[in-house]
């Protein structure tokens, strides 16, 4: 009875890459063939399968890549053995395959679960059905020590002195995005995990990457995500990312950004590039953009956006709501509707709450609040911040000297001004 129970003490399902490197591989007769230099995985599928191995041959010390391997455990020992009749079959390179040591080990990856850039200290494989699957990336200190060969020493000291047990810091492969080269990103584009990240996190990550990775990661994003990410990125990085794109791609992304952010960005670009992008953009958007660009950045005119809802006083609630619904993709703000006369002079404001609560056939002139807080187009940002603070608004309308409504400033855009004063 006892000998039918597998020996669970020696039973191991997981193995680290660092433990595999340098292991001897044997042929079907049990003769040593060579030592493992690197493993090759096929990155298709949730957990990539090891499909080949790079060996240093025992016979002539040549470096060769083979496929056809069986990985197994018996008596607590890990064995890697060649199978099949066509041994030794030298392996042809396949596009969806990569060498682990070259592409992953010691390189940086994005951990999309923790929204951080990590350095790969080790890799963990699962052994199942004589196959190896890459399941975890080890980013912890213990993994580093294992690589250095000091894990037993540190483990002993930490245990003896502080009664502290080190723990592995593993990131599931599901959350790992490789970024070490543009080719890798292209290779993994089908399962691009960067999309799992919030654009603000993505922006932080992009800022931390080096110039090449930065470009590659940014180019791997879809236009909408790219635009959202760009809005959250530091102006200096914004410029370098956009300068690296073709004018058409750049204008596609900039059109997706909110107007005021886009105008700030265009203002930071070189005049030639900005001109090129403006020419590439849709006429309406380009007109709005040019108007915003005419104002200095630290004044109301430079902070404002022109994508807001405005209606004549004779407009009904139903029509207003219909218009807002129709234009919603192009509007930077929907919470306030501004009421203007024939000369674009500001008469009043109606909040979305009021629109929703009112009868559909009611006129905006009946609903509007005429005590509108507004700022002049040349107002300094410090005073605007004070107004936001005093009146607790989401947006403040901007008028010129003739009281014509020119745009609105979103609280979000002013936040960057205030944030600087918060010591961030």
């Amino acid at each position: 009875m006892a000998n039918t129970i597998p020996n669970y003490q020696n039973f191991q399902l997981f193995i680290f890459f660092s433990e595999l490197l340098g292991k001897t591989i044997v042929d079907p007769e049990g003769n040593a063939v060579g030592r493992i230099l690197d493993l090759i995985i096929n990155i298709e599928g949730t957990y990539p399968r090891v499909t080949g191995v790079q060996l240093r041959l025992k016979s002539n010390r040549r470096t060769v890549v083979f496929s056809c391997l069986d990985f197994s455990f018996s008596d607590g020992h890990f064995t890697a053995q060649f199978t099949g009749e066509d041994f030794p079959a030298e392996k042809e390179p396949v596009p969806s395959e990569l060498m682990l040591k070259e592409a992953l080990l010691d390189k940086q990856v994005v951990d999309t679960d923790g929204a951080k850039i990590r350095r790969v200290n080790d890799l963990q494989f699962l052994i199942a059905n004589d196959e190896l699957y890459l399941v975890h990336v080890d980013v912890g200190f213990q993994g580093l020590l294992r690589r250095v060969g000091l894990k037993p020493l540190f483990g002993f000291v930490l245990h003896a002195l502080f009664d502290y047990e080190m723990a592995d810091q593993l990131v599931s492969w599901k959350f790992v995005q490789m970024i070490s080269s543009p080719d890798l990103l292209r290779l993994t584009i089908a399962q691009n995990r960067l999309a799992q990240l919030h654009p603000a996190d993505l922006a932080d990550i992009i800022e931390e990457l080096d110039i090449h990775q930065r470009k590659a990661v940014f180019n791997a994003l879809d236009i909408e995500t790219a635009a959202e990410t760009l809005e959250e990125t530091d102006p200096k990085v914004q410029v370098s990312l956009i300068e690296g794109l073709s004018t058409e791609d750049a204008s596609d992304i900039i059109e997706e950004m909110s107007l005021s952010e886009a105008a700030d960005l265009l203002g930071d670009l070189s005049p030639e590039k900005a001109e090129g992008i403006l020419n590439e953009m849709e006429r309406d958007a380009a007109e709005d953009m040019k108007e915003l660009l005419a104002h200095p950045e630290e004044m109301a005119g430079g902070l404002m956006t022109t994508a807001y809802p405005s209606f004549p006083p004779t407009c009904t609630v139903a029509d207003a709501l219909k218009t807002i619904r129709g234009d919603i993709d192009d509007l930077d703000l929907i919470y306030y509707s501004y009421v203007v006369d024939d000369h674009e002079r500001l008469l009043g404001v109606v909040s979305l709450r009021e629109l929703l609560a009112a009868e559909p056939e009611a006129l905006l002139s009946e609903l509007m609040d005429t005590r509108v807080v507004f700022v002049n187009i040349e107002e300094k940002k410090g005073q605007i911040a004070a107004d936001f603070f005093k009146y607790g608004l989401l947006a403040i309308p901007v008028v010129d000297d003739d009281e014509q409504l020119k745009g609105i400033i979103l609280f979000k855009n002013l936040l960057e001004v205030i944030a600087a004063k918060l010591g961030r």
Binding site: K107, K116, R119, N121, V148, I211, H212, Q213
Partner: protein, 426 residues
Amino acid sequence: MGNVVNKKVYGFLHAFFNAGRWRKLWIFFALIGPGIITSNVDNDAGGITTYSLAGADYGLSLLWSLIPITGVLIVIQEMCARMGVVSGKGLSDLIRERFGARITFYLMIALFLTNLGNTISEFAGIAASMEIFGVGRYFSVPLSAAFVWWLVVKGNYKSVEKVFLFACFIYFSYIISGFMGKPDWHAVGSAFLHPVFRMDAGFLAMVVALVGTTIAPWMQFYLQSSVVDKGLKADDYPFTRLDVIFGSIMVNVIAFFIILLCAMTLFKNGIRIESAVDAAQALAPLAGEYAALLFAFGLLNASLFAASILPISTAYTICEAFGWEASLDKKFLQAPQFYSLYTLMIFLGAGLILMPDMPLIRIMFYSQVINGALLPVILVFMLLLVNDRRIMGKYVNGKIMNVISWLTVIVLMLLSLAMIFFSLFT
């Protein structure tokens, strides 16, 4: 009428500022910084001590060595700056990715130790120079440690860089004090024209020390990171190279004036000194009170400057290699390793100075030895990296550059070995 004049003035200004050269000068000033700062930090407490000793013990006879040293410094730093600009990565980052975890781990331990030794000598320099101004070390050292902390943690890269660039100007105090020593230019000229080389142990050790103090391991990491931090691109590279060359020349001009001053005063009068502070004190009766004060002030500035940069640079370098969060924008708990390393460096660096009976000379001495042992290793890694096409693309070293740089590295290796030998057996 007025309009016409205005147009003319405008046209003139337009032509003036668009005339290539001016535009280039302007870009240059926007892009300089890393090279000049790195080189000047290099003239730290240890450097100034070495130059003073060289001048006091050997007079003008070692002046010639500054010319090859400048050349070597330019060769090495140019490669670092190029790697930073092209790869966009720090040196420890590249070493980790190319040479793996184990090598990097031990390299970082060695770097931490030598940088700690250097930091200690910077705080020793602060303590000693402040004592000349009549401020006790139990006051000056904690205060300067607090200042260093505040400057780096509370400042941002731009403002700190400006403070540092300003600190570079204070080095001119050495040029002024150099002139106060009433140099004999004729003798200076002939010292350069007739280089002297002697094969006695003391002379050789001094040459080795001069080279060793000018080219230190940490500089390569610091320079490359600050080039990366500044976000310089491959198009900006010609300016970065100018920055590096300018910095390397400036550092040796300062060294020249320190050696000159000590040679003209101390050496001529047969005064032996042990440290830079001895030099400052001995200068007063020979070159005047102001020359001595300027000299001490220069030492204070140099030590404080280097003490501000070494701990932060070390923390960045190590965290980068191991993939730990490293940014002053993060809170302590978000980047514990970074802040711990940084704090530890300042705490140990400043704290050890205040311990009574601390064998400071021995500590500095052994840190010099590790410095010398580490340098060749890092230089070899650098050369392998700078010739790696996967990293550098078309910006790898050319044939001539490779010959020059390998020769440089071999000479430096021999000198480093000589330095370790001298340190341990004499």
